[in-house]
């Protein structure tokens, strides 16, 4: 019985500040550990303070800015194409029978196969430029939107379509007033996931095609054995990724406030 009461004690709803304290403690623990381990690890690791100094230096001497601009260009192009292509292919998969019947297996193969392996193909066809990088980045990040939109468009209840048909709506009205609004939350779920995935795609494309942006700095750091530089850029990218995940959630919450709880 005593054991049971102890368990119940654990299950008691804790105030928010305990939760917040746990979060802070975990971040603090990590940073402290980093500083401690980094101080006497030799050339392959750098303590937190050195890393942050390096980040400031890299920003001040104009290394980070241009690299971010290069990567940013790929990122923005990728996300834009993801949106257009993802919505187009997703709707087509769901509402055009012939398209789904003939292309669905190939869409799935492209999704499940390791996209990195297609880098040489993209290079052979498009060369070393931004085009090839964006193609690879899109192939990595577009499928969350495709599958989400397709699932949304497939799950429109029959009765909505029947009502629209009863009231004699035209094809265009049907799309504008029924299908697109219904698909919108599904689209935003896909977009929320695509926002960080496009960053993954950007980095992969840079690593393998032309290491010119942020990834270029990472590879430079590794080949020159500059641990502080590698860590500084990694921290920057991680912070960026976390911010982007937050932006994705915010966008979804702002545009479809009625449905941010349905999936996790």
């Amino acid at each position: 019985m005593g054991g049971l009461r102890w368990i119940q004690l654990l299950r008691v709803e804790r105030p928010r500040w305990v939760q917040a304290a746990c979060y802070l403690a975990s971040v603090g623990l990590l940073l402290g550990l980093w500083q401690y381990v980094g101080s006497d690890f030799g050339v392959l690791f750098a303590p937190l303070t050195t890393t942050l100094q390096e980040l400031v230096t890299l920003t001040a001497n104009g290394t980070i800015g241009p690299a971010m601009a290069v990567s940013g260009q790929i990122y923005v192009l990728t996300l834009g194409i993801d949106l257009v292509a993802g919505v187009g292919v997703g709707l087509a998969l769901a509402r055009l029978r012939w398209f789904a019947a003939s292309f669905e297996p190939y869409v799935f193969i492209l999704y499940a196969a390791p996209t990195v392996a297609l880098v040489p193909v993209a290079f052979a066809v498009f060369g070393f430029g931004v085009t090839a990088q964006v193609v690879i980045a899109v192939l990595i990040s577009v499928f969350t939107i495709v599958f989400s939109v397709a699932e949304g468009a497939r799950s429109i209840p029959r009765i909505y379509l029947d009502v629209a048909a009863t009231y004699g709506s035209t094809e265009a009205q049907l799309w504008r007033d029924v299908i697109l609004p219904y698909v919108m939350p599904f689209l935003m779920t896909g977009v929320r996931q695509a926002i960080p995935m496009a960053l993954v795609g950007t980095l992969v494309a840079e690593f393998f095609l032309a290491a010119n942006g942020v990834s270029g700095l990472l590879i430079e750091g590794v080949t020159e054995f500059q641990a502080a530089k590698v860590l500084a850029v990694t921290v920057l990218v991680s912070a960026l990724a976390i911010v982007l995940v937050g932006v994705g959630e915010l966008v979804e919450r702002l545009l479809v406030p009625w449905r941010h709880t349905i999936d996790g």
Binding site: R11, I109, V116, A124, L161, Q193, V204, L231, V237, I242
Partner: protein, 285 residues
């Protein structure tokens, strides 16, 4: 109208086929069309070294009969299998603890979740820096790629399990280890397997990334090496090999999930077979 009728006749003719033939017909036709477009397009517009179907078919037997190919395949696949097993085990234990012990969840969730949503490829350079240009770096990169999604989704599954299950456990006086491994683990199993599915996809990307960046022998390294020597047809055989291995592994995990947890329907990236089967309706008709 004429085209409409013709399409109807075609549809009826297709419907007359046995079901497997009917389902395979359209993809096969499309596949052949894509191959023809690729062949003709590459011949017409692209330089000679770019891979085209005829070249790939010609290169295929000579590549898959070399011992090098099988040595590379063995090297990459055994690293992936080893990494997936270790990553799944560690990730599942971590996820269970994070999901069932709330304080541990609060402490670790921010770290694990932010690592999970981070582009793991950005960590590959550090791993190479620390572990050198070795197979260990590749293994660790694969383990991390599998561990994080497994931990995150297992902890979700273990945390959100139905209170009814726990009540039944309480009524039958289940011991803590029985609650953990008899109730929480099976209940979280489908999420765990969904995590493994995502993890395998990332494992291939990370494995290839380390092979290329750190010159570790394997399918990925050889793939890029052949492409750099402008033997794109040979390189594409390696692309096919990697894709076949990755898709086979993921399909295996999905089948396992369907066998072990038939009630579970994942919401996101779905295999074609799992999407709603009713035909897309002709809207407004």
């Amino acid at each position: 109208m004429a085209t409409h009728n013709r399409r109807l006749t075609l549809a009826r003719a297709v419907d007359g086929l046995p079901s497997i033939g009917r389902r395979a017909l359209w993809p096969v036709v499309t596949g052949l069309a894509l191959v023809v477009v690729w062949e003709v397009g590459a011949r017409a517009r692209l330089p000679a070294y770019v891979a085209r179907p005829s070249g790939i078919v010609a290169a295929f037997p000579s590549v898959v009969t070399t011992p090098l190919f099988w040595a590379d395949a063995l090297s990459t696949c055994s690293a992936i299998v080893e990494g997936v097993v270790v990553g799944t085990f560690v990730g599942a234990v971590l996820g269970l603890v994070m999901g069932r012990v709330r304080e541990v969840g609060w402490l670790l969730a921010p770290l694990v979740r932010s690592l999970y949503s981070m582009p793991l490829i950005a960590l590959v350079p550090i791993m190479v820096l620390w572990m050198g240009y070795t197979q260990t770096a590749r293994l660790v990169a694969i383990v991390v790629a599998v561990l994080l999604p497994v931990a995150v989704s297992t902890s979700d599954g273990a945390r959100l399990l139905s209170p009814d299950f726990l009540d039944v456990g309480k009524v039958f006086r289940a011991r803590p280890h029985q609650v953990w491994f008899g109730i929480a683990l099976p209940a979280a199993l489908p999420q765990l397997l969904a995590g493994v599915d995502i993890g395998i996809g990332r494992a291939f990307t990370n494995g290839v990334a380390v092979e290329v960046l750190a010159s570790v022998t394997g399918l990925g390294y050889q793939l890029f090496d052949e492409a750099q020597s402008l033997r794109d047809a040979v390189s594409f055989v390696y692309v096919i090999a990697l894709a076949v291995f990755a898709i086979a592994a993921r399909t295996g995990v999905r089948m396992l999930s369907r066998r072990l947890a038939p009630w579970y329907r994942p919401r996101e990236p779905t295999a074609p077979g799992r999407l709603r089967r009713e035909p897309a309706q002709v809207v407004g008709a």
